[in-house]
Amino acid sequence: MGKIVAIHSYKGGTGKTLLSINLATLYANRGKGVVLLDLDFRAPSLQAILKVQNSEYWINDYLNGVCDIKKALIDLSETHAKRGRLLVGLANPSTEAIREMTAKDRKWEMKALGRLLSLKTSLLSEMNLDYIIFDTSPGLQYSSINAIVSADIVLVVSGTDISDIKGTQRMIDELYELFEKKTGLIMNKVLFDVLESKTQRADLAKKLLNNNNLPMIEMIPCFCDILRTGGVSVFVNENPEHPFVKTLDRMATTIENL
């Protein structure tokens, strides 16, 4: 049986979407069957980055009980993956849809949780896929907690900012541990000089871990090359030899063995 991986963070702008898209593509390039789902209903972004046409059905429709999950998926295997399968489910980026999703009640959120949980059967088991990657909303809100509860593995991305580190620690203690989730930490946009110094690197990791016994999966440097691309392409496909892709490749292997 495949795995559901939720990529989450306390604050926005930590690089969740960049990591989600590139990790999903990397797994597909390794020959795996991958589904990438945009669960950030407040700020949908996969459609713009992957440059796909408006889909007939969105993930919003699946969660609203309008359609089967398979109808809400777009197959990008031919255009975006070298091998394997890459399917994406997009969140509707229209203002009306965003407004509608933010006004859902508790009963709807409970049904949404049931539908996310059933993806394990409908996608991983029946479609024989290897990974479902959830690109979640930041912070503690219904859609992100639903994603966390449904996932097998949660990857928490934090920046080096103290407010981000403290918020991430709270989420570890008050959210992931309560749901007994397999959790891995990723520190993103770390300055090169910090990474080059063994002591500074260890201090930064210690600051985030705060005596928690969780694996620090990767400390990713802040790459200006990524910022320069402006998010117009899938980085792993355009720059396969870039150090970021090597880091991501190592990260993908670690997650496989979690």
């Binding site: 009980g65 309008v66 359609c67 089967d68 508790r106 009963k107 959120e109 409970m110 049904k111 949780l113 049931g114 539908r115 949980l117 059933s118 394990k120 219904y142 907690i145 639903n146 509860v149 959210l175 309560l178 749901f179 007994e180």
Partner: protein, 133 residues
């Protein structure tokens, strides 16, 4: 040498019934304790009995584990939940019944088996999704 005492079958049945009643009483007491800990019963507050993630977060650890497992299984017996949580069937049965009494979980009997489920839709037809009907 003393011979083993023969137990009267009527006494055995009676003892069994007393044990079951005590178990039920115990479960009810645990629910009352939980409700006291977490304020009023949800329905008394006008808040619907919804087992959403925020409710899951507010449950004590032992009940949360059972509730999350049931959410994953959708519709399950105490045995099936116990298989997943690696706890004893009797323990899970107790926790599931506590969740039923708290109003978060529904219970139905099919033959000799008791099935527990989270009611997600009042008009839900055999747990089918709208597009399957």
């Amino acid at each position: 040498m003393s011979l083993p005492r023969k137990v009267d079958p009527i006494s055995t049945t009676l003892l069994q019934k007393i044990k079951e009643s005590l178990d039920q009483l115990n479960q009810k007491l645990e629910v009352m304790i939980e409700i006291q800990k977490h304020g009023q019963h949800p329905t008394q507050n006008g808040i619907p009995d919804v087992l959403d993630v925020m409710t899951l977060l507010s449950l004590p650890d032992h009940l949360r584990k059972t509730a999350v497992t049931l959410c994953k299984l959708d519709h399950a017996t105490a045995d099936e939940v116990a298989d997943q949580t690696k706890r004893a069937r009797a323990v899970e049965s107790g926790y599931l019944n506590q969740l039923v009494l708290m109003g978060y979980v529904k219970k139905e009997r099919r033959g000799r088996k008791a099935y527990f489920y989270v009611e997600r839709d009042e008009n839900q037809n055999e747990m089918k999704e709208p597009w399957e009907k």
